[in-house]
């Protein structure tokens, strides 16, 4: 019962959070420059999310294997490799490092 209440509360709250972005955006008139900064804001949050979830797992150092794999993926993406190549290279790097005993 508690879990059901949690699911409904999380669902409603999350939906309200999701619609608030576009509603806020419409309330403020944006110049071309602030528009660019708003777009960059989402990029910055996504990058920070990637960095934090790659370096820390459950609040502690994730070990070398995970960041190394993601970094390999990032370098390939910078060199314009297709996404499938990025994903496979990242996962393979992390898996091989773990196989070799690197946490």
């Amino acid at each position: 019962m508690m879990m059901l209440a949690a699911i409904i509360a999380l669902a409603v709250g999350t939906y309200l959070i999701r619609i608030s972005g576009p509603l806020l955006h419409r309330r403020i008139t944006l110049s071309e420059r602030t528009e660019k900064i708003v777009k960059a804001g989402a990029t910055v949050v996504l990058l920070a999310l990637t960095v934090v979830s790659t370096v820390l797992v459950d609040g502690a150092w994730a070990g070398w294997a995970l960041p190394a794999g993601v970094l390999v993926g990032g370098v390939l993406a910078w060199r314009r490799a297709p996404l499938a190549v990025v994903v496979i290279a990242a996962a393979a790097t992390t898996a091989l490092l773990r196989l070799a005993g690197v946490a």
Partner: protein
């Protein structure tokens, strides 16, 4: 809707979405399996995936609730994690902010990956729209299928970490923001923001540090945008 989407979605997009869908499928199986292992019935995990559709918050709320953390703590942790959808909606909301139905459904499909794909389309509004809907609908189906599979059969599936699959989703998000990071001022803001997020992760609840990353944007505010920089 689907047929017109598929007509616009080129092969490169579909290939990228397939790679992403595979990663999300594995994450969804993990979610279903972990929830089941913690004693959550399959239909509740499933209801959560359908109604919430935000992976990290689902993991957090289930984790806290099933270890006796309580309703308020569980929901609060999930909602704080989801606050990052506010800047997402501000940045890419225009993509689906058209008809009422599009607004209602599009809002539910606003996640890290739909945002990243829409941003990666750059200034091409139609491409952004196609990418957002293709990714959103695909991932909604994959996330929910994976949740059921994981909840019912998760104990038979190998640990994703041994296959390095935990590196797949961050690598995809990183790859999708790379085009935007070629703009020097955005890159500077991203580096400063990530450093702030990382530094504050040790003492702030998950979800807050990535929002504090927005402080990195002051780098852009102070420096007037140079012409041509964005297209470089």
């Amino acid at each position: 809707m689907l047929t017109s989407l598929l007509r616009h979605a080129d092969r490169a997009l579909l290939r990228d979405v397939a790679a992403l869908a595979a990663g999300i499928f594995v994450a969804a199986i993990s979610f279903g399996a972990i929830a089941s292992a913690q004693g959550v019935p399959w239909w509740q995990s499933s209801a959560m995936s359908i109604l919430v559709f935000a992976g990290a918050s689902q993991f957090a709320t289930v984790g806290i609730m099933t270890t006796g953390g309580g309703l308020v703590a569980g929901v609060a942790a999930g909602l704080i994690l989801n606050l990052r959808h506010v800047p997402y909606g501000m940045a890419v909301g225009e993509v689906y902010w058209t008809s009422l139905r599009s607004k209602l459904v599009g809002s539910h499909l606003l996640i890290d990956q739909t945002t990243a794909f829409a941003l990666a389309a750059g200034d091409d509004r139609r491409r952004a729209k196609t990418a957002f809907w293709t990714v959103g609908i695909t991932l909604f189906l994959v996330w929910n299928t994976g949740t059921v599979v994981g909840a019912l059969a998760g104990q038979f599936i190998a640990d994703p970490a041994t296959l390095g699959l935990d590196a797949a989703l961050p690598a995809i998000l990183l790859a999708l923001v790379v085009p935007a990071l070629r703009d020097k001022s955005t890159l500077a803001a991203g580096v400063v923001g990530s450093a702030i997020a990382l530094g504050t992760s040790f003492f702030l609840p998950a979800g807050v540090p990535v929002l504090l990353a927005l402080l990195g944007l002051v780098v852009m505010w102070r420096r007037p945008t140079e012409r041509g920089e964005a297209t470089a």
